[in-house]
Symmetry: C2
Subunit: 143 residues, 2 copies
DNA sequence: GAGGTGGGTTGGTTCTTCCAACCGAGGTAG
DNA sequence: CTACCTCGGTTGGAAGAACCAACCCACCTC
């Protein structure tokens, strides 16, 4: 551990955060999951300032998280939709939601999801190979 | 959906992001998972400016994500450790790492984790009740 | 007593965000 | 045909946050 670094640690977490680690991007992605696809909806539901929202949408499009689709051309109007990369952010959103539910939101969670199995959805992170939950201590760095 | 909102959507994701949704906080948490507990280590490994790091550490302490422990008193020196709430961020970090590995980091992932089961760890989000992976489409909002 | 270590502060500059107002193409009501 | 509304932005200016380099102080080692 703690390789004597002068430059920050090379890390996929940091790389991911460079793309979606600002105040609004993940809220935009959340809205797209909630099927709010239009500029005004996203602006209203996130509370993001419109100019910032414009630059975020452009950036997220550029990095391939979402795509812009014209739904009208005569006055050019666009909708925003998640790409595969964007949809792959679902675990990030759900993990944040779960943590927010458990540790920051007061009272009952504002939105409750139901899994196909019929139970209220409580997110757990598990190992794809064995299916067991990735508890603390069950992960080690390979070197 | 799309209840005619004038205020932003009430949401645990937003609440979580208000606490850890800035540029450095999750990197700090990552470092604590990596067992870098001292100010200088965290500063070097994240690349965060020292003054910003100070205010982030104070804020994260205040909201209960980490705690500050004196390891020397004569010149007062401190270490930072995750609380239970902080350790509960593990799924968020792992989900971000997985997404970074899959969609933004070029080449092989810089850090490979191994699960206790012996396989390289690939993070999957699943339902605590039934254990099945929470694929896209398997979740619905309860109303 | 010179220099290093650890955990910060401080001052000054730059960068980003934020807000309110505006815009232009088109559709709609009257 | 005129007035007004919608949609998806853009613009200017003020305020705040981030950033960087330098400094600080108690202690420890050489």
């Amino acid at each position: 551990m703690t390789t004597p670094t002068t430059t920050p640690r090379a890390c996929s977490v940091a790389n991911a955060l460079e793309v979606v680690g600002d105040r609004w991007s993940l809220l935009v992605v959340r809205e797209l999951f909630f099927k709010a696809h239009r500029f005004n909806e996203i602006a209203a539901n996130t509370g993001a300032p419109r100019d910032i929202l414009t630059t975020r949408l452009r950036k997220l499009e550029e990095v391939g998280v979402l795509e812009r689709r014209a739904y009208s051309s005569s006055p050019p109007r666009y909708e925003y939709h998640l790409t595969d990369a964007g949809r792959a952010l679902s675990p990030v959103i759900q993990a944040l939601r779960q943590w927010g539910d458990d540790f920051v939101t007061e009272g009952p969670p504002p939105a409750v999801f139901e899994h196909d199995c019929g139970h209220p959805f409580v997110a757990v992170l598990s190992c794809r190979a064995c299916g067991a939950a990735a508890d603390r201590g069950s992960l080690h760095l390979q070197h």
